[in-house]
């Protein structure tokens, strides 16, 4: 550095420095007192600053309303696979998983050890346990769990007991859901609850696929409809679509089907070895971005599809995540799956005794 060069005063005015940096070389002749060019530059900088502030306010507002990762911003959220985040342990042989409407509680059915449903908070801390009623004494195997999106009530399907137990959002046992009419007994697998309290039960009372069906039950237990009878083979998870259609993982037929309002069953994804084909689909979810996730239990992975505007549109295969194993991000016979509205995916990793958390 020569003697003639000077460093700017670090405590000096930043704006002055910017002005000086963008000014023409200093000449011995004094500049005119009012520099229109500088004034214009400042106005442009002010405009950019205002735009950035508006952008920040918009981002803040979007985030406060959605609480999703920034990668879920509109326009960025499609056709991407989630990445592994963490795991929730202290659950034995989890089969089903569900999330409370606000995403603060995660429910995982525990088929091993003491059959019950474990409640985790969003950070994975075990905060409660939903236990079946003490009477009548019977074997219990809680399989799938669903949450009423309106009330937050938790529904647990117990296949061994042939019951659906209902708990309130604080975890207290409330009642046993009892179908009315001709349905004397059920053996529930997948469950779903509509916003109006309608309960959907995948019922596999006998080993004969001809008897497998989806029961649509009013909150008082009245059987509203019986769907898919004779067309399904161990239906597992059920998802209620935006237009009232039902998506079902027709497990032993190796497919995902949609059942429309007329009761027509249409295959969306089938069994095979091609990209996106299924082996033994179990867990199923469609998140608020319209992404359909299917647990392929025997392939030890989750397959992700985009859905179309119409329920019967063929889903677009995006990719799969997970692989067989015990490491983080791997699965061993995964079963249930749930998504929240904050960009998280929860997978019941049965044989690894954990719930894996994935996110975008």
């Amino acid at each position: 550095m020569t003697e003639n060069q000077t460093l700017p005063d670090p405590g000096g005015d930043l704006l002055e420095l910017l002005d000086d940096m963008s000014a023409p070389p200093k000449s011995p002749t004094p500049a005119p007192p009012v520099d229109e060019a500088r004034r214009k530059r400042r106005r442009i900088i002010l405009a950019i600053l205002v735009a950035l502030l508006a952008l920040l306010v918009g981002l803040f507002t979007w985030y406060l309303f959605n609480r999703k990762p920034l990668s879920e911003l509109p326009g960025l959220s499609e056709a991407r696979l989630p990445s592994y985040k963490t795991s929730f342990y202290d659950v034995a042989k989890p089969l089903g998983v569900a999330v409370s409407p606000d995403g603060s509680r995660i429910y995982a059915t525990q088929s091993g050890a003491t059959p019950s449903t474990i409640v985790f908070d969003r950070d994975g801390a075990r905060i409660g346990q939903l236990t079946p009623p003490a009477t009548p004494k019977t074997f219990h195997v809680p399989v799938y769990v669903a949450v009423n999106p309106t009330t937050g009530d938790v529904y647990v399907g117990d296949r061994a007991a042939g019951k659906v137990y209902v708990y309130d959002d604080s975890g207290a046992y409330r009642s046993t859901f009892q179908p009315k009419g001709d349905v004397k007994a059920i053996s529930p697998l997948g469950l779903a609850v509509g916003p109006d309290g309608t309960l959907y039960v995948a019922d596999v009372l006998s080993a004969k696929p001809a008897d497998h069906r989806i029961l649509v039950l009013a909150p008082d237990g009245t059987v509203k409809r019986v769907l898919g009878k004779g067309q399904l083979n161990y239906p597992n998870a059920i998802v209620v679509g935006k237009q009232g259609e039902l998506y079902v993982s027709d497990s032993n037929n190796g497919r995902v089907v949609v059942i429309d309002s007329t009761g027509k069953v249409s295959t969306l994804v089938a069994r095979g070895v091609g990209d996106g084909d299924l082996g033994l689909p179990r867990g199923l979810a469609i998140d608020d971005e319209g992404r359909m996730l299917v647990v392929d239990t025997t392939d030890h992975m989750v397959r992700l599809f985009t859905t179309g505007s119409s329920p019967t549109d063929h889903p677009g295969y995006v990719g799969s995540f997970g692989d067989e194993g015990h490491d983080d991000g791997k699965f061993t016979f995964p079963n249930g799956l749930a998504t929240d509205t904050r960009g998280r995916v929860y997978v019941a990793d049965r044989e690894n005794n954990r719930v894996e958390v994935w996110g975008y």
């Binding site: 000086d20 500049a31 920040l56 963490t86 490491d327 983080d328 690894n352």
Partner: protein
């Protein structure tokens, strides 16, 4: 004062300057606040992995009962799973100090040393198992002895001593005749011996037990056929390796193109396997039958048709039961 600052004396400019300063401050504070909120909201502290948890639990058990050999053995095995081979060997040595003939510890130590690449050292505990058990009453059904022979065979292959490897792997296969991993190692040893045709037959035997999802044998078959200057057969093997790597449509296209050449039978059998894995029994049977028509004594085609419950027809048609 710089002459350039004279203009700032204008009230409008002073307002602009003040707005710029306030705006920059608000933007900075806003960005920091958003960053903090976002981090707090989105940050997920990763839980210890399953294997880390197992290691912690087993270490605690050993700390509680340092003389419990079963706990130490378990810790060695868990360390192996965690790829902590040095720690595993330490635990196995502790067990062997108290129980020198413990086969689980010998086998674990041999495997750990082999995986670490200390092949000569690994031979010692594995040979100890062989010496101790090869003449035992149940030697023919001793899975630990079989595993020791297998690892010794793998070491032979790694050391490019195919004769030694084949001897050990032969013993392993006597104990477990359907061990496709041992067959694969035999194939590798045969390649080292310069017997690609024999190696191809062995790899095919291995694939009989694991026909899908195992790519290496197909890759080795491809290499062997390339050595044998049989490009069509190498291409079939390459297509099957592609199928194994989930390039199903590409594999079908390539195999279909090869059904008219010198590797037609192999291509047809490959298409049959693909159809079978796609649950298309009818198409699979048709491909196997076509292969059988071209080569009436082809055992793969005959056994595949039998597995599908389809009776081979001399005329080229098939009847499903």
């Amino acid at each position: 004062m710089s002459p350039h600052r004279l203009w700032a004396a204008d009230p409008t400019d002073r307002t602009t300057t003040a707005l710029l300063r306030i705006g920059a401050a608000v933007l900075t504070v806003g960005l920091v606040a958003f960053g903090l909120l976002y981090y707090k909201d989105q940050h997920v502290a990763a839980a210890p992995s399953l294997i880390e948890r197992q290691v912690a639990l087993t270490e605690a058990a050993v700390r509680k009962s340092p003389d419990d050999l079963a706990a130490r053995l378990q810790l060695g095995l868990v360390y192996e799973q965690a790829a902590r081979y040095d720690d595993a060997v330490t635990q196995f040595d502790q067990v062997l100090k108290a129980a020198p003939g413990d086969k689980d510890a010998l086998l674990g130590k041999g495997f750990a040393l082999m995986t670490k690449g200390q092949l000569d050292k690994a031979v010692v505990p594995l040979t100890a198992i062989v010496k101790a058990t090869r003449k035992g009453e149940f030697a023919g059904a001793d899975s630990q002895l079989g595993a020791a022979y297998y690892y010794l065979g793998v070491i032979g292959v790694k050391q490019h001593q195919p004769d030694k490897a084949l001897a050990q792997l032969g013993h392993a296969l006597k104990i477990e005749p359907t061990d496709s991993d041992a067959m694969y190692q035999v194939g590798l040893a045969q390649l080292q011996q310069g017997k690609p045709a024999a190696a191809v037959a062995t790899f095919r035997d291995a694939l009989r037990f694991v026909p899908t999802g195992w790519c290496e044998p197909y890759q080795q078959i491809q290499a062997a056929y390339t050595t044998m200057s049989k490009p069509d057969l190498a291409a079939v093997a390459a297509a099957m390796a592609g199928f194994c790597g989930n390039k199903v449509d590409d594999a079908k296209t390539k195999l279909t193109a090869l059904t008219t050449g010198s590797a037609a039978v192999d291509a047809m059998l490959g298409l049959g396997v693909i159809a079978e894995t796609q649950q298309d029994t009818k198409a699979a049977a048709a491909w196997y039958q076509k292969a059988l028509t071209k080569d009436p004594k082809n055992m793969s085609a005959i056994s595949s048709l039998a597995a599908l419950g389809v009776k081979p027809k001399a005329s080229g048609t098939t009847t499903a039961k």
